[in-house]
């Protein structure tokens, strides 16, 4: 793995190696706007910023992520690819939004207030989860009020972008989209398809 990743190190700002010489060894390449994590059973790219442009030619997803993926597949002893997952979190900050009014407003818009108030009077948080399972594919969409940076921490940790921390007290709405497929040969075009679908879901939800 080290020989494969070594040529990519000059592109990165930093390299971290955890649990070296161990089955749980994880190598992290740190770039300015994204990180790439490599372990024995997965390769992950984690990015925060504007999504438009990621499906363009030579974007960071194609180069270096899928380039590194291709080189890992060529290594001796590599087994096979089983599946791929694209998980995206959207946050829509709403200026002037108040935490107390957000949840009530969301319930009123999307759920039946009578039913909810019978169960929990004035809930402090709420979320809608939609899931669709078909053969070899699962799509999960969750959306609800965004009540602070804790909502992101619960899912995937703090974002890299320090400007996001400035929005700690600005509330709004949040969507999480996960698309999971069993695919033995994911490519950059697979990611482009996932991204188009994800952005489509976001546009549909926030047009409601």
């Amino acid at each position: 793995m080290r020989e494969v990743m070594a040529p990519f190190v000059p592109m990165a700002q930093d390299v971290k190696l955890e649990n070296e010489n161990n089955i749980n060894c994880k190598c992290t390449l740190v770039f300015s706007t994204f990180n790439i994590y490599a372990s024995w059973d997965r390769l992950i790219i984690r990015y925060d910023g504007v999504l438009e442009g990621l499906s363009d030619n030579n974007s960071i997803v194609q180069e270096p992520f899928f380039n590194l993926f291709g080189k890992i597949k060529e290594t001796r002893g590599f087994g096979k690819v089983i599946n791929c997952l694209c998980a995206t979190i959207f946050v829509n900050h709403m200026k002037g939004a108040k935490k107390e009014e957000l949840v009530g407003g969301f319930v009123e818009k999307h759920l039946k207030m009578d039913h909810i108030s019978r169960l929990v009077d004035k809930p402090s948080d709420t979320c809608i989860v939609l899931e669709r399972n078909t053969e070899g594919r699962q799509v999960t969409i969750s959306y609800g009020p965004y009540l602070g940076i804790e909502d992101i921490q619960k899912r995937s940790g703090l974002p890299k972008n320090p400007e996001v921390l400035d929005h700690l007290d600005i509330f709004g709405e949040m969507i999480e989209v996960k698309i999971f497929e069993t695919d033995s040969s994911p490519e950059f075009r697979t990611y482009k398809r996932f991204l188009d679908e994800t952005i489509n879901f976001k546009n549909l939800i926030w047009d409601i």
Binding site: M11, F31, D56, F188
Partner: protein
């Protein structure tokens, strides 16, 4: 090695000459041309925190001193292009760039030669990875050695296709085709 163009407002200081006239023209667009022949005033010297000793002023050295700031540049978009150097001149380098990896489309682009000066000149047509970052008002080009990074097979395939170019395929048959 990287070359950074930023939207600093440059007055007419005695900047050292560079080998990159094109990029100089871009950065000089910010120069206040009306005051081109003015001597820097005391206020102007005092107002900037970098580079006061104008005859010995080294812009790049001063820029490196502020490296901490450069690390948090907040680039909005980054693209990484597989490239091969075709021609190296004194002022420009022409690269063949793989702009569409899936459809194997190439484009020739030229860049200032000084950003390639760290590469070994003895290697003919070396492969490089061009990392181009951008945000409103600024761009940065990093030239990385392509060993282990660049998809060399894509360039070899292109060379093979180019060798097939010729008139032979267009010549009419002068005898019947034998089945």
């Amino acid at each position: 090695m990287g070359y950074i163009i930023d939207d600093l407002k440059l007055k007419d200081y005695s900047l050292p000459e560079t080998d990159s006239p094109e990029l100089d023209r871009v950065s000089n667009s910010e120069v206040d041309l009306e005051k081109e022949n003015e001597e820097p005033t005391e206020d102007l010297i005092a107002s900037t925190e970098i580079g006061r000793d104008y005859p010995n002023f080294n812009y790049m050295e001063e820029l490196i001193k502020t490296r901490g700031f450069i690390n948090n540049e907040g680039w909005e978009k980054t693209i990484n292009i597989n490239s091969r150097i075709l021609h190296r001149g004194d002022k420009k380098v022409i690269c063949e760039c793989l702009i569409d990896k899936e459809n194997k489309r190439f484009e020739r682009m030229s860049f200032p030669s000084n950003i390639f000066s760290h590469l070994d000149k003895s290697i003919k047509n070396p492969y490089v990875m061009l990392s181009i970052s951008s945000k409103p008002g600024s761009t940065r080009i990093d030239v990385l050695k392509g060993d282990g990074l660049v998809d060399i097979e894509a360039f070899k395939l292109k060379d093979k296709w180019e060798k097939l170019e010729g008139d032979n395929f267009n010549q009419p048959h002068d005898k019947p085709i034998e089945l």
